[in-house]
C-alpha cells in the first residue's frame, strides 16, 4: 500500500538509535544461552517497550562508572567513597523530585519497582487505616500491581473494593466513577495510562472527586512517566509510582512519590538499618523522610542510573518524546485498521498513548507473537497483567506493540507485514 506523505519525526531517530547498541542485534534464529554463538537472521524490531525499555549508553556508563570509581555504602559512612556515593544517591532523589514536580527528596522514596510502591502504601497505610465500611476504588483497567494488591488488602481489612467501568471505547465511565466514589472511599488507585488500552485517564479530575469526599488517590504512572511530561502537583495525586526499567533506566528501581504530610503520618513499611534513628532492645524511632521508607542498603547504583536516565530523556525533551510516540501510535493504528480481521482495543489512534493491543481473528495471540518473532519482531502476547480487563473484552490474550523514542514507521511496516503473514498462514 502507498503510505501518505510522511511528516518528519519530532526527534532525530537515527541519532537516538545510535545510543542503544541492543538495537543492532539480529534475532529470529534459535534462542541461545546468552553469550553463546547464535544463528542470527534478521535485525531486531523491538516493540515491547511497555514491558521494558532499552538502556542507552549514558545509563550503562553511569552504572559501570559507579562500580568502577565510587562504589560504596551510603548514609552511614564518613570515608571519601561513602561521601561521594551518598551525595550521588541523594542527588538522584532530588533529580526525580524535579522531574515529576515533587517538592523535594523527602517526597521521593526509591523502591524496587512500581509494584513494590503500590504494596508499600497498601501495607503501611492500608493495613493500618482500612476497615469494614471503607471502600477502595479501582478501575477495570488496573494493572495487577494495584488490582491484586488492593483486592488482597481489602480481604484482610474488610474494606470493599469497587471497580470503575471501562466503556466501549476503552475509556473510564466518569459517571460511574462519580457514583462509586463516596464519603466512605478511603483510597482510589487509578492507572494514569492503561498498559493495555493506551487510554490516558483524567487523573486530575478523579483526584478532585476523591478529595471532595475526603479520600486519597494513588496514581499508577508506570506507563505515563516514561512517555510524557508529568506533574504530580498539578494532578494533585497523594501517591504516584513508576519504574526505572520502563524509562531508559535499570531494573531493580521504582519510585514512590507521596505528599510529605501523608508520608509523614504513615507508619514505616520495611524495618531495618538506614530507616531508624534510635534502637533499643525494646523499641525504635524512625528516620526522617524519605529514608524512613528505605530500609537496608538501598538501590544505590540503580538510583544513580535512574538519574542518568532522566537526564537522557530530558535532553530529548518529554514533549518531544510524547510527540514521537504519538506519530508512531497513530501510524500503527491506521495501518492495522486496514485489516478487517484485526481488532484493536482502546480509543482511536489520535487519542492514545504509544501502544496498540490487538488480536487477529482466528489466530491466538501467542501464536501471533511466535510468528512475529520469526520475523524478528518483538511484541508482548498475553494478558499484560490485566486479566480481568481481558475477561471483560472476551479474550484470553492479546498482542501488544508498544513504542519508544527509537522506533520508526519502517519497524511498524515490518510489524504489519508479519501480522499479514500470520493472517495468511492461519487463513
Amino acid at each position: 500500500m502507498e503510505a501518505p506523505e510522511q511528516e518528519p519525526y519530532p526527534l532525530d531517530v537515527e541519532a537516538v538509535r545510535g545510543d542503544f547498541p541492543i538495537l543492532q542485534r539480529k534475532v529470529g534464529g534459535d534462542v541461545t544461552i546468552p553469550g553463546e554463538d547464535e544463528a542470527d537472521t534478521e535485525p531486531l524490531v523491538y516493540l515491547d517497550n511497555a514491558a521494558t525499555s532499552h538502556t542507552p549508553e549514558p545509563v550503562v556508563d553511569a552504572i559501570a562508572d559507579y562500580y568502577r570509581s565510587y562504589n560504596s555504602n551510603v548514609h552511614r559512612g564518613i570515608h571519601h567513597l561513602s561521601q561521594e556515593a551518598s551525595i550521588a544517591y541523594e542527588n538522584a532523589h532530588d533529580r526525580v523530585a524535579e522531574f515529576v514536580g515533587a517538592a523535594g527528596r523527602e517526597e521521593v522514596v526509591f523502591t524496587k519497582n512500581t509494584t513494590e510502591a503500590e504494596n508499600l502504601v497498601a501495607y503501611a497505610w492500608g493495613l493500618n487505616e482500612l476497615g469494614p465500611g471503607d471502600n477502595v476504588v479501582l478501575t477495570e483497567m488496573e494493572h495487577h500491581a494495584s488490582l491484586v494488591t488492593w483486592q488482597q488488602i481489602g480481604k484482610r481489612t474488610g474494606a470493599e473494593v469497587r471497580f470503575v467501568r471501562v466503556d466501549e471505547d476503552g475509556r473510564l465511565d466518569m459517571d460511574h466513577a462519580r457514583e462509586l466514589i463516596d464519603d466512605d472511599t478511603a483510597m482510589a488507585s487509578v492507572v494514569h495510562v492503561s498498559n493495555t488500552l493506551g487510554t490516558v485517564n483524567p487523573v486530575g479530575e478523579l483526584a478532585d472527586i476523591v478529595h471532595d469526599h475526603g479520600g486519597l488517590i494513588f496514581v499508577d504512572g508506570a506507563q505515563s512517566v516514561p512517555h510524557m511530561p508529568v506533574d504530580v502537583g498539578e494532578m494533585d495525586a497523594d501517591f504516584f509510582a513508576f519504574s526505572g526499567h520502563k524509562m531508559c533506566g535499570p531494573t531493580g528501581i521504582g519510585v514512590l512519590y507521596g505528599k510529605e504530610h501523608v508520608l509523614e503520618e504513615m507508619e514505616p513499611y520495611l524495618y531495618g538499618g538506614e530507616m531508624i534513628r534510635k534502637v533499643t532492645f525494646e523499641d525504635s524511632q524512625w528516620e526522617d523522610l524519605p529514608w524512613k521508607f528505605e530500609a537496608g542498603t538501598p538501590v544505590i547504583a540503580q538510583g544513580i542510573a535512574l538519574h542518568a536516565a532522566i537526564d537522557y530523556l530530558e535532553e530529548l525533551g518529554m514533549e518531544t518524546v510524547h510527540a514521537h510516540e504519538g506519530v508512531l501510535a497513530e501510524y500503527a493504528y491506521d495501518r492495522l485498521t486496514e485489516y478487517d480481521d484485526v481488532d484493536i482495543y482502546g480509543p482511536p489512534g489520535d487519542d492514545r498513548a504509544g501502544l496498540v493491543a490487538f488480536n487477529v481473528d482466528g489466530v491466538h495471540a501467542h501464536d501471533l507473537s511466535s510468528i512475529l518473532n520469526d520475523h524478528a519482531v518483538a511484541v508482548r502476547a498475553g494478558d499484560h497483567c490485566t486479566q480481568p480487563l481481558h475477561d471483560k473484552l472476551g479474550v484470553a490474550a492479546s498482542a501488544r506493540a508498544s513504542f519508544y523514542v527509537y522506533n520508526t514507521r519502517e519497524e511498524i511496516d515490518t510489524l504489519v507485514e508479519a501480522v499479514d503473514d500470520a493472517r495468511q498462514l492461519f487463513a
Partner: protein
C-alpha cells in the same frame, strides 16, 4: 547451543491439525475424562479416553478445548497417537516424545502449550487408576 523454537514452529502439520482437529468432541462412553489448563496461554483441554475391555489398552480418545495452535494441534495429534497404546506407555511419555510427535522444535516459552494434552491424559489415567486423588484440574507448570 540452540534451545530450539522459532521459525519452524508452525510447519504444515501443526497448522493442519489446528485447523482440522482430529477426534474433536466428547465421548458419552468414556472410561475416564479429565481437564486441564495452561494459564500462561489461557489454553484449556479436556481429554476423554475409552479403554478396551482389558482395561489397559486405549481404544479411542476425543479431546475438546480452546487455546493456541500449539496446544490444540498437540491435543489433536495425541488423540491419534494414543489409540492402541497401553496406559503404561502413556505414563512413560515425556516431553521429548511430545516434541518428536509434533515434529518441530518448541521454544522454551511455549513448551507448556505443547505438553498440556499429554499431561491431562496422564493425570486422567492416574486418577482412573487411583494413583492420585483429588486433582480437580491439571495445571501445567514449568
Amino acid at each position: 547451543m540452540g534451545i530450539g523454537g522459532g521459525s519452524d514452529m508452525y510447519r504444515q502439520q501443526i497448522l493442519d491439525h489446528y485447523k482440522n482437529p482430529r477426534n474433536h468432541g466428547t465421548l458419552d462412553d468414556a472410561t475416564f475424562s479429565h481437564s486441564g489448563e495452561n494459564p500462561s496461554c489461557g489454553d484449556t483441554i479436556r481429554v476423554d479416553v475409552r479403554l478396551e475391555d482389558d482395561g489397559e489398552t486405549i481404544d479411542y480418545v476425543a479431546f475438546s478445548g480452546d487455546g493456541c495452535a500449539i496446544s490444540q494441534a498437540s491435543a489433536s495429534m495425541l488423540s491419534e497417537r494414543l489409540r492402541g497404546m497401553t496406559l503404561d506407555e502413556l505414563a512413560a511419555m515425556d516431553t521429548d516424545d511430545v516434541t518428536e510427535m509434533l515434529g518441530v522444535d518448541i521454544s522454551p516459552m511455549r513448551i507448556k502449550c505443547a505438553v498440556l494434552a499429554r499431561q491431562v491424559a496422564q493425570d486422567g489415567a492416574k486418577l482412573h487408576e487411583g494413583e492420585i486423588d483429588d486433582l480437580d484440574v491439571t495445571i501445567t507448570e514449568d
